[in-house]
Symmetry: C2
DNA sequence: ATCTGGCGAGAGAGCGCTCTCTCACATCCC
DNA sequence: GGGATGTGAGAGAGCGCTCTCTCGCCAGAT
């Protein structure tokens, strides 16, 4: 007992397969009474088109690969940014009836797998999330003749349209907030320097410090809580008198807050802390975290629009979304 | 300029399409020198099989739907349990060369979509994550003739093999820890009662309290941080003298800790707190959270094994994984 | 030398669908 | 009334692959 085919529908409705196909695909050149008859046959048989057969002839698959190129540290499963982005992208794609094929690329082996899969024409387009500098995937994918968009500016110079938030501007706003509240020795815990978000936020920090004639004090983490704690301890060792720290993301800020607590520093009295991302957890730290919010869901939606636009030869222009300073108690 | 077909490979190697197909599918009945010739042709042309054509004839798709049936509250993007589970499941599936089709089912509309898609034969099997009691999806999917496994015991009585952790046993261990450390008035913040994890952890709590002759004090949350904070405030109102609280998951425990702090209670001196899940954030709360760890990655792997087994008519026996008490400073 | 087996390779059908091409028939204008 | 135009439906090819069936060929047995 296999699933009904278009042939069966056509037979039941007393029309040809071609006509049944026209009804299924909502083509207009079908007389109303015939359309009704076919529709009835479809309902009665519970007909569902076979997508394999369809893509075989149309050369479309109606599915999009969501490639998460994970750096060594397992940011993906821990950083809510990723799941939120995936969730939003998935939601937007479902709205336009595209399937989402999730591919996690971590090892070189899986990179090869992804590349093979993509170039195998199994998907109509690719959304690439979070790649680090050494990632060969953006370059590899941009060579294929599959439309690709990136969540965040690619870390390597490669011609892929992307949607990003204003990392530099956001960091500047965050650091400026610290300057304006009278902090003198403002350190930073930068994100990984092979990621654009890491680089750009550090750039923003440096821009403001330069303009306000302060010395920069930098430690580098990898966007995990643990690296935030380690970097904070290092900063306290380097400059025990620091009175503020701008942290590259909220996750590291959580680690930094813990390190400050363990070092006996009060926040914000002794040290002010500003994070970046405004993840949900930022409301629940002790004290609640001042941070920079950017619209992840909107970013994902914009990325989907960009990709869908590409299918019709639309704009390849990058989209940059603004950030917003959310002042809580930590700074 | 389209992609090379098997026909092209066969022509280049000077063999028939059938033989080329045998080489591609690693069949043994091919003479070594012919195999080599075909392989060379494949490499030279960069041939990649067209999966649509293949599934059309084999009736297999080599892809698995990962259906995340989301309750109203957007646990998915916030609860690291989900992303970890998805990550692990995806990883395991890639290892056996299955594609992962991610489907987020939140609205009734998307439920219908998922059901249509699954019954359309687009996937070989389904992995269902996190459904709540009112979820019609498990029942609907179990009716289709597609193998389905569930991450966590389904909340409705339905014949779907599943992998779960020992929620009752874990909760008992957590509450027993509180009893043994001399706590007298032990409250609980239970998870949503339309989720098995919510129910079972409450059951474990009740079991121990009954045996140790204590009164149960219950508030209910929905597994989000915010609900944890609200529930904690409610508990403090109900019984200001409580000296311990067992929280249904770590996320709610984070909220509870904040509420306790705001109410001026010291943890663990005044109130001991035990969570459940051992998410990464549990190490970074103030104070670090005592909680119950369960192996999410293993659970996902076991689920994949279960599903793959089903394809070969293997066991439908549920798998229950143990939990482990992780003692930190909160209790 | 003939027959039987077995094994490696090819021929060809067909998976379920779309889409072009063709055709029948109705409509319209001169 | 006859040709031009339009419109709705069917015929049939073919997307790229797998897989059964068949056949040719060689080794070994008779």
């Amino acid at each position: 007992m296999r699933r009904p085919t278009l042939e069966a529908v056509a037979a039941r409705a007393g029309v040809s397969r071609a006509t049944a196909s026209r009804v299924v695909n909502n083509q207009t050149t079908v007389a109303p009474h015939i359309r009704d008859a076919v529709q009835r046959a479809i309902d009665e048989l519970g007909y569902i088109p076979n997508s394999a057969a369809r893509s075989l002839v149309t050369q479309r698959t109606d599915s999009i690969a969501l490639v998460v190129s994970e750096p060594g540290t397992r940011v993906f499963s821990e950083d809510p940014m990723f799941s939120t982005a995936i969730r939003s992208a998935s939601y937007e794609l479902e709205a336009v009836n595209k399937q989402v094929v999730l591919m996690l690329a971590s090892s070189p082996k899986s990179h090869a797998r992804v590349e093979r899969y993509i170039s195998g024409g199994h998907v109509d387009g690719v959304m690439l999330i979070s790649m680090h500098g050494a990632d060969p995937l953006p370059a590899a994918l941009s060579r294929l003749r599959v439309p690709v968009v990136s969540y965040g500016r690619p870390a390597v110079p490669v011609d892929i349209p992307f949607v990003d938030n204003d990392n530099v501007g956001g960091a500047e706003a965050g650091v400026r907030h610290l300057v304006e509240s009278g902090r003198r020795r403002i350190a930073t815990i930068a994100g990984p320097q092979d990621m654009i978000a890491g680089q750009d936020r550090l750039t923003g920090y440096r821009n403001v410090l330069r303009d306000s004639d302060r010395r920069s004090i930098v430690a580098v983490g990898d966007f995990t809580r643990e690296s935030g704690a380690i970097a904070m301890r290092q900063l306290l060792g380097d400059d025990p008198a620091l009175d503020a720290v701008f942290v590259g993301n909220d996750l590291m800020a959580v680690g930094a807050l813990q390190a400050l607590r363990q070092a006996g520093r009060r926040v914000p009295d002794d040290v002010a802390v500003v994070g970046f991302d405004d993840i949900e957890a930022a409301k629940y730290t002790e004290p609640p975290l001042t941070t920079l919010r950017h619209p992840i869901a909107e970013q994902a939606a914009a990325m989907v629009r960009l990709l869908l636009g590409l299918f019709e030869g639309g704009s390849r222009e990058p989209v940059i979304l603004p950030t917003e300073l959310v002042v809580r108690e930590s700074a």
